[in-house]
């Protein structure tokens, strides 16, 4: 039987598609989504109890190992999920190649910048024990 498939044998073996990343974007979006189901429920409950609370109470909360670890995981999963989601929005609506590339780079920088800022502040609260 004649092979009518349009893909090259190498392309089929690699299975990565034209973007060279295969399904990793899709998969990581789902992986972080599943992680965020329990983490965001925990985060919402914690934020509702402690947003605007006294600074000492907030610091004491994040100084607890379990809370600090959960918050760290929440920040990483949320920032990664956010960067993947915003990337799709940029790809959907921005069609000018140069502008798109600039926004995609900016998106990654901004998301991980936010993550680094939140992570550093958390670290300071968790181990710095500010008076």
């Amino acid at each position: 039987m004649k092979d009518t498939r349009l893909r090259t044998p190498l392309g089929r073996v690699e299975g990565l598609g034209s973007a060279r990343t295969g399904t990793s974007h899709f998969w990581h979006q789902r992986l972080t989504a599943v992680a965020l189901v329990p983490l965001s429920v925990w985060f919402a409950a914690s934020a509702l109890a402690y947003v605007g609370a006294e600074r000492g109470a907030v610091a004491a909360f994040f100084a607890e190992p379990a809370e600090a670890i959960l918050m760290f995981l929440f920040i990483v999963a949320a920032v990664y999920h956010m960067s993947l989601g915003l990337q799709v929005i940029i790809e959907d609506y921005i069609h000018q190649e140069g502008v798109k590339l600039a926004l995609l780079v900016l998106n990654r920088f901004a998301c991980w910048g936010i993550g680094a800022a939140a992570g550093f502040a958390l670290l300071k609260l968790a181990v710095g024990a500010p008076a």
Binding site: L36, L48, G52, E54, M82, L86, I114, A118, L125
Partner: protein, 148 residues
């Protein structure tokens, strides 16, 4: 040969002469459906939550920085505008979370029929509002009970 004297078969595009092809109507043409609204709301709440991370960063950095920085944040959080932002983000999170679970169910192959899809979309709207309102009320009581 057909009636116009042309050969049947695939027509080729003549170069330099773009053909007026039919285009898909844009969103203002379509009748609104609850599934379409849920899809758009999912994206909009996702963007709102991305903006909300800036408030999270502000909260954590203010708490880590010192009493003066934290007082500014606490002032905004206690202000009615701060409460509105908190409720809005809470609802956005509840919606995005519940509709995200709907998406994960689809990924596993469940809930694809039109009737189920419409029902779950409506449920996500109702449940997210209910959860956000009750969680917000409990949050206010907890913070009030702690004398904050």
């Amino acid at each position: 040969m057909d009636a116009n004297g042309q050969s049947p078969g695939p027509k080729t595009r003549s170069p330099g002469k773009p053909k007026a092809r039919p285009v898909s109507p844009h969103i203002q043409i379509w009748r609104w459906t609850v599934t379409m609204a849920a899809s758009i709301t999912h994206r909009v709440t996702g963007m709102a939550l991305a903006g909300g991370t800036l408030f999270l960063v502000w909260w954590l950095i203010a708490a880590a920085s010192g009493p003066d920085a934290y007082a500014v944040f606490a002032g905004v959080a206690a202000h009615p505008i701060g409460e509105v932002i908190l409720f809005g983000l809470l609802w956005a999170l509840a919606f995005h979370l519940l509709n995200g679970i709907r998406h994960l169910a689809w990924d596993l192959g469940y809930g694809f029929t039109m009737s189920t899809s419409r029902l779950t979309a409506a449920l996500v709207y109702a449940a997210s509002l209910l959860i956000a309102a009750s969680a917000f009320a409990v949050g206010m009581m907890v913070r009030g009970g702690l004398g904050l």
